[in-house]
Chain length 468, copies 3
Amino acid sequence: MALLDEDRLFPAEARSRDIARSLYSHVQDLPIISPHGHTDPRWYAENKPFPDPAELFVTPDHYVFRMLFSQGINLDDLGVRRVDGTAGETDPRAVWRLFAQNYHLFRGTPSRLWLDHSFQEVFGLEVPLSAATADHYYDHIADCLNKPEFLPRALFERFNIEAIATTESPLDNLGWHEMIGQSGWSGKVVTTYRPDAVVDPEFENFAGNVTAFGELTGCDTQSWSGYLEAHRQRRIFFRQHGATASDHGHPTARTENLPPKQAEQLFLKALAGNCSAGEADAFRGHMLTEMARMSLDDGLVMQIHPGAHRNHSMRMMALYGRDKGFDIPTRTDYVQALKPLLDAVGTEPKLSIILFTLDETAYARELAPLAGVYPALKLGPAWWFHDSPEGMMRFREMTTETAGFYNTVGFNDDTRAFCSIPARHDVARRVDCAFLARLVAEGRLAEEEAHEVAHDLAYRLAKQAYRL
Amino acid sequence: MALLDEDRLFPAEARSRDIARSLYSHVQDLPIISPHGHTDPRWYAENKPFPDPAELFVTPDHYVFRMLFSQGINLDDLGVRRVDGTAGETDPRAVWRLFAQNYHLFRGTPSRLWLDHSFQEVFGLEVPLSAATADHYYDHIADCLNKPEFLPRALFERFNIEAIATTESPLDNLGWHEMIGQSGWSGKVVTTYRPDAVVDPEFENFAGNVTAFGELTGCDTQSWSGYLEAHRQRRIFFRQHGATASDHGHPTARTENLPPKQAEQLFLKALAGNCSAGEADAFRGHMLTEMARMSLDDGLVMQIHPGAHRNHSMRMMALYGRDKGFDIPTRTDYVQALKPLLDAVGTEPKLSIILFTLDETAYARELAPLAGVYPALKLGPAWWFHDSPEGMMRFREMTTETAGFYNTVGFNDDTRAFCSIPARHDVARRVDCAFLARLVAEGRLAEEEAHEVAHDLAYRLAKQAYRL
Amino acid sequence: MALLDEDRLFPAEARSRDIARSLYSHVQDLPIISPHGHTDPRWYAENKPFPDPAELFVTPDHYVFRMLFSQGINLDDLGVRRVDGTAGETDPRAVWRLFAQNYHLFRGTPSRLWLDHSFQEVFGLEVPLSAATADHYYDHIADCLNKPEFLPRALFERFNIEAIATTESPLDNLGWHEMIGQSGWSGKVVTTYRPDAVVDPEFENFAGNVTAFGELTGCDTQSWSGYLEAHRQRRIFFRQHGATASDHGHPTARTENLPPKQAEQLFLKALAGNCSAGEADAFRGHMLTEMARMSLDDGLVMQIHPGAHRNHSMRMMALYGRDKGFDIPTRTDYVQALKPLLDAVGTEPKLSIILFTLDETAYARELAPLAGVYPALKLGPAWWFHDSPEGMMRFREMTTETAGFYNTVGFNDDTRAFCSIPARHDVARRVDCAFLARLVAEGRLAEEEAHEVAHDLAYRLAKQAYRL
């Protein structure tokens, strides 16, 4: 028995399914381009075994434990560590059993698809996970993890990853990337410039970070021009470690294009810790335009993904800290918000700004029309809806008619969960083939054109958009 | 000839349809749990015949007469009574004929599905309703209504209703429920605590209501602590009449968690009639948090359904009063609005707050992510879109991936139209089976799991979520 | 080989496709009613040949050139003229080749459907457009354009257009319409009253326009009452040239119903050029209510289409002027915005106000509920999403259940691209038949009723709603 249906995510209707199958058969084995992710470069640098099944699948994956938590299961009992360092359940097998007992909660969710895919394709498991099979699963996976073919680099190669990007702060010394580079291993692991710590006045220890930024770069980051110069230099350093992109996650899509004097004053206020919330927001918005200008010079692709209310629960933030499933999407405006940046640089064909959203209502109304006319804009995939098939399909349905396929950038997985990477790309390829199959079956696209587009969406567009 | 297609609402594609049929065959005859509705308890208490076909299907159902009105048909001619007590058309047969002549207006609407279902399944009619068959319909239904098997309790039993909830004000003496309880009839009819009259400072005669509230409960409702105590006691009284839930319909989802002193001051201002609109809103928002705290003690499930602009037309409100089809949905924010309440009690697994919406854009963006992580939150069904099949399907498509099935609560009918209750539950069961059939046909869920979920959605989840 | 699939846009599933085919076969040849468009009346008046293929398909159609521009192709190279009168590429064949080379960018877009339809059905072309076939296309189309059967009137007749509306300013002398009327040609070309130039205080040269308006009508347009009288008279003049409708495109759906004194003061302020942005908005909003009152007298149908951020790029507006693909939809509220107008005249069954939207999120939430109860309101088609099949289908899915079919008004093409008119109506008819086929296949509508509705949507409703 198999956990996975061979034709999963294809349309049920026979003719469309056959077209989808045919399209998919030509793209399923293409290498993976993963240009926006959050795996840990240390894994590839050290190449040590992953610790245990719970640590691999449950404890670090907020898509998994938030669903369990929503049904009344305590995070302590799932082994999620508190901010104060204490952990409730410390036996990974007990955590695994609790997870397995509640596996029915994931019915109909993308997590279920990724997990089953990992279980079957990565670990060769064939019986469904349940309370009854929990120990069998645990033992089998634990066993595997100690074998050389389950070490991070071996998995990287088995997953057919052509390139993967990680995400680092400008204050990071990129030591793990250095180590990977010097190891002689051929895997392509690049960094991404994510400057929140030094562009967000509300970031913890902003002033201290800017000081450290100056020390790292040898620039006078207490002055506006020195601060900008530090960015320029650090971006070069990141490019030397493979970076082809920067990444910007702000609460809103607000941009500003302030006169230099005004920008300088805001910066000095931010350093002094005197910014109001509105001024901090304006400064972040202005820095997006500065980053865009630097991109015109150094060629880094910009990624903007606004719209999360981060760490929504005060209590959970206090007990367990960030990234515990409490990032809740909010309504996001793009049309007004991006105008200052677009008026500054939006018609530059050499610039590439990739927009993401957590607010699907913006797809047809704002994002597709914007990307369908501004040369600098492209649409990132529907990833913050955790790579959901329904979300991916709605993305194509709501953007293609106005933005076409070629103002989109293929698929990003955006994940920390290493084993789910092939599963997520597989889901994206299947959904895109299903969408294309419908266009073909409905007489809206010739089948040979669909084959070309399928290849573009699975591989070429990501490679090209991210300059990888 | 039949009015209803045996396979209605199932997917057209053969394999999916077969799966849907099979799933449905196992849930179609399950008892009805109707935990949120607006039928009149007096019907079950007195058990008298319903008056006539127009009074049963047209005059009280704003989904029916608003459509006719939108096409230029006068409410007077439909026998809808004015606020001043006058009625235009007083001959129910004339009203019925006008309705029948315009029955084509309901093509493609849920009302049409419910009406045809009632005509065929409740009254055994088999020819389509039209001008030509209007009198046949009228005579046949009028005839039936005088037979014992069409009395409210007989229909209740024929409909296989296991439990139904009605909705009452804290100022209601629950006399009809008392009468039902003492009648020896076994039908389970419970009340619901709907405190608008005494928690909304803008409610007509708010101060007078609070005084009456004090008299009913023996509490000093002129003081903040006495007022809260009155709620506590009245909730106990409602629980004694079967209540398992409270119900809260505010213009927005705003909640507050004010310091006691500040809440008290707002309350006193409200009593004195000195609240600004903003203060009234803050008070209503704070009372949601107070109600949630009481729920933690007494176990009542909370229902919050915000977002209607009530009685949108000034002229129609003046002439015909409330509930005449002029409640228009508005954009509704949940993420900011619910935060105070959620920070206070949102991680309590014993609390159960069921959220409804009229703004579908909130499903994928806000409601599913919130319900998918906060243990206290569950998602109510898509009912304010009047139990529409398309709306129900979109609800599953937009919430399942993030909230799963088990953070939803099955189906509520929310209706005043007694004969439509089986039709609405049948529609919901069919749509859920159609959704599940697609998941199975697309290889995303095993068929035996789908059977279990279908049962959960049709019966178990409502029973469990509402503690019935 | 054909460019078009006979069954395009029908559901892939066989039974539904057969129903859709059958429905479509009865409506495909119905005459075209085009009550809201932007073709140039001069074409029909002069009946001269269209200049060349690039001028016919590329240079004037912002749906075409904005997609090319979004992929880095310069508007100068596409022959789009700058505001200063200069043009980059002046050889239409070079423009055509650039377009043909990039034709793959239109995969999956409605433009592709219209273009292929025009190529095949209007010009008899059968090979796909590409770099290789660019010259063949160019020569063939250029050849055709000089033949009498490709003159504007001949095409009008070949397209089976029963009536077409153009759009003019109150300051227009309607000379082309006059010329058409006197030509003895039987084609029905009517005008539409679009008063932006004299109702929008922010319109270029507003005060001068109002003065000219006075001169044209012989009314004292410096006074509020004279200004209103000028509208009344000019509407009569437009009615004499066939107008059955007025057209109003404001940034928002805001309406006002101000006391006459206050309206007068605003008007005088506007004339003096002293309006704030808020006051200008209020004045526009008030004028919608005035226009509605005039409609009650003279029977003109009102069209309101709010919600575009016009000419979003400062740079492109400065270089190339208006209508260059930079109108970006924004979030639009209707419920609060329309209330003043609806309280004034919304329950008048003789009034007909057709609402359009660029914000699809308003369909299910606001527009369908409003049109489903107010007799004065009808829903315009989904045209600002450029007649997209997906958008049209979502329109039916999100409005039918609440507003029914009979509160919608059939299809409008809203285009300047003459050759695309039959293609657009064909797309609309196919999508409506596909939607109806699904309702029939899912047992929600009888097939004979679907035939009647298909005819209504393709022809009758537009004719009736626009009083043509």
